[in-house]
């Protein structure tokens, strides 16, 4: 894992000291809110519905045990004893008080963490495949490149006042677990004739106008990465619309100007700035790569694992659902669900964080990941340790066997916390999870991704949910629109709106009707919801959602 250099630590200490004095000046009245607001946003501090909210970056989703323990400490000391993991690999504290925030930031700095550029019109936290460095299908670990981008983009003088926020995601596998096509820039590592490079995707994004990113360069050699990124963002910085917030993202810039024009401008800019990159960036990348060396994997007997698997149905169910293939023999990638039925998706108590930190240190080569699906990953667990790990998770309420199933729901904070939200998202997720748990249908339904956003900005990725739910305010009442057939994988598809929305007390029933229609109409248990939807189209699901309209049409 990357550990801060003297330069990094000094930079962060200076920045935190600067912000401490800015907070003091706001409190003593020397700064107005108008003056202070951009300063606090640059440091991840929002003012939400009931309180301030501090958003802390977890770069490319990677944490050590010590860092996780510090997040727990911060939650206990300055918040309400929990944290919320987000769809962009951040953690949010929902209840900080303004005078405490500088201390929280200093506390984060102690473990090489910060909240810089987690808000504002800047390049945000760089996200990556949460299985990075562990996945069996990986070309290369994307995290060194993500760290290089983090260093390049942090406090980049040209990019502190972009037309709008800017999000970059990197994946090192064919299987896209980082939703790269829904980012302002998505990078997919590829190899051509043995050389490492990237497929560069621009102009993807969800929100008000969902757009699937377009390939601007199908093979960018690795050594050209930073100048090419700088060219893309530089062109956007000049061309992006600042007159209309809703047209300011790069997806609109690319669509309005055309991909060809945009590419030409990028190439022109690239020709200008490429000579300024004299290879220091590649030397830095090599030094970073050395810090991401694979842990020393061990070999051990799998007998204990097999015995537990055969004997304990609870363990077996969890192993079948929450494990993924690891590149090293005898190892597994463990996804720890933060979606216990009825709980808030993505929330972990400080006690749970400490358990996860301990388990990472004992069994997991001291590594943890946060996924954009709001779960925690223990990326390197030897299978012989799984029974003990599972037992420890179980006693901490962390052994829910539901990864990729109907209750593994992404939900944004919605109107329970967010000042922008138009409706609640969390209780809808809680109720759907509880309903299908009570019906004991979850495992029968099989792989299904439900994603819920509490407003059109789509932080809950509803457009790419197999079933997406969007909460709106319709004439002063919460109303939920359903989209069907979305897909956030490498075959990114934007879901199709099913029809009129449902009231808060109707939405869970509506989801159940969709699921019952699927169960009735699927070919076999092997045909997933998404496969069935693609085969059957939306008609049977719409008929299930709107039985009265279906009856009228039939009459």
């Amino acid at each position: 894992m990357y550990s801060y250099s003297e330069f990094d630590s000094a930079f962060l200490a200076a920045r935190n000291d600067q912000f401490r004095r800015q907070v003091q000046r706001r409190i003593d009245g020397s700064l107005t809110e108008e003056e202070f607001r951009p300063l606090r946003l640059m440091n991840g501090l929002y003012l939400q519905l009931h309180a301030y909210m501090l958003r802390v970056a977890i770069p490319y989703g990677t944490l050590s045990g010590g860092q996780m323990r510090q997040l727990a400490f911060i939650a206990d000391k300055w918040d309400k004893g929990y944290g919320h993991f987000t769809t962009r690999q951040n953690i949010q504290y929902n209840w900080p008080k303004l005078p405490d925030v500088p201390d929280m930031l200093d506390s984060l700095a102690e473990v090489n963490m910060h909240a810089i550029q987690t808000s504002g019109n800047t390049i945000r936290n760089v996200t990556a495949d949460h299985f990075a460095g562990a996945a069996a299908d990986e070309i290369a670990d994307p995290r060194p490149v993500a760290e290089l981008i983090r260093q390049w983009s942090t406090d980049h003088p040209e990019f502190q006042f972009l037309p709008r926020k800017f999000k970059v995601a990197v994946t090192g596998s064919e299987t896209d677990r980082a939703v790269t096509r829904a980012h302002d820039i998505g990078l997919r590592m590829v190899r051509r004739d043995g050389a490492a490079g990237f497929e560069v995707i621009v102009g993807g994004g969800l929100g008000r106008t969902p757009v699937i990113g377009k390939v601007i360069n199908d093979f960018l050699p690795q050594q050209d990465l930073l100048p090419y990124l700088e060219s893309i963002v530089s062109v956007y910085n000049l061309l992006g619309r600042r007159d209309n917030k809703y047209k300011a993202r790069i997806k609109i810039t690319v669509n309005e100007n055309g991909l060809e024009t945009y590419r030409d401008l990028v190439e022109k800019r690239f020709a200008e700035i490429r000579p300024q990159f004299k290879g220091i960036d590649q030397q830095m990348l090599a030094a970073i790569e050395a810090q991401f060396a694979s842990p020393a994997f061990r070999t051990a007997s799998l007998d204990g694992y097999q015995t537990a698997y055969d004997a304990d149905p609870v363990f077996r169910s969890w192993a079948d659902t929450n494990l993924a293939a690891h590149k090293a023999e005898g190892y597994a990638i463990v996804t720890v669900s933060l979606k216990a039925h009825g709980q808030t998706p993505g929330d972990a108590s400080s006690d749970q964080m400490r358990v996860l930190a301990d388990l990472a240190e004992i069994y997991g080569h001291n590594e943890l990941r946060i996924s954009h699906e709001q779960n925690v990953i223990l990326p390197h667990i030897h299978k012989s340790d799984l029974p003990a790990l599972h037992a420890a998770l179980k006693s901490a309420g962390l052994a829910t066997a539901n990864i990729g199933l109907i209750s593994d729901i992404i939900a944004c904070p919605g109107m329970d916390y967010c000042a922008l939200a138009t409706a609640r998202a969390i209780p809808v997720a809680q109720q759907i999870a509880e309903r299908f748990d009570a019906l004991k249908l979850e495992h029968e339904v099989g792989p299904l991704k439900i994603k819920i956003s509490g407003c059109i900005n789509a932080c809950g990725h509803h457009h790419v949910g197999h079933i997406g739910i969007l909460g709106l305010d319709r004439a002063g009442v919460e109303n939920y629109q359903i989209t069907l057939g979305g897909d956030g994988s490498e075959d990114t598809v934007i879901g199709e709106r099913a029809g009129p929305g449902f009231a808060y007390d109707e939405i869970v029933d509506a989801i159940e009707r969709i699921i019952r229609a699927y169960l009735e109409q699927r070919d076999s248990p092997e045909e997933t919801f998404l496969m069935a939807y693609r085969r059957l189209g939306s008609a049977p699901f719409k008929a299930a959602l709107y039985p009265e309209a279906a009856r009228k049409n039939a009459a």
Binding site: R26, I27, G29, T32, E33, L47, Q48, L49, H50, A51, Y52, K80, N94, W95, P96, K97, L98, P99, T344, M415, D416, Y417, R424, I426, P427, Q430, D473, G476, V477, E478
Partner: protein, 100 residues
């Protein structure tokens, strides 16, 4: 025809704590909606908004929120204001825990 004026309160978030506060008749801030000044005249609302906005060292994000006059003082008419005076629905945190 201009729309008829509906009753309002002035609300904001406290600068230090960040929690929801309401403007009172005495030019102060209260954590209880029941103690807020109920404003039923448009011109008066604009004047009171200016008074409230002058208190930048105490609050952030001052605005007029719709309410109706109830027996226990002003009542929210929109669910957003109902949540603001209560707290989140997933945990017993925020106003519901503190005011009780």
């Amino acid at each position: 025809m201009p729309r008829p004026f509906t009753p309002k309160v002035i609300t904001a978030n406290a600068l230090l704590e960040g929690d929801v506060v309401y403007f009172t008749q005495a030019d102060g801030w209260t954590r209880h909606l029941a103690d807020a000044e109920l404003i039923d005249d448009e011109a008066h609302a604009q004047l009171r908004l200016l008074d409230a906005e002058r208190q930048q060292n105490q609050v952030v994000g001052v605005y007029l929120a719709d309410v109706s006059a109830g027996q226990d003082g002003p009542q929210p008419t929109h669910f957003r204001e109902e949540f603001r005076r209560t707290g989140p629905s997933n945990y017993f945190h925020g106003k519901q825990a503190e005011v009780a």
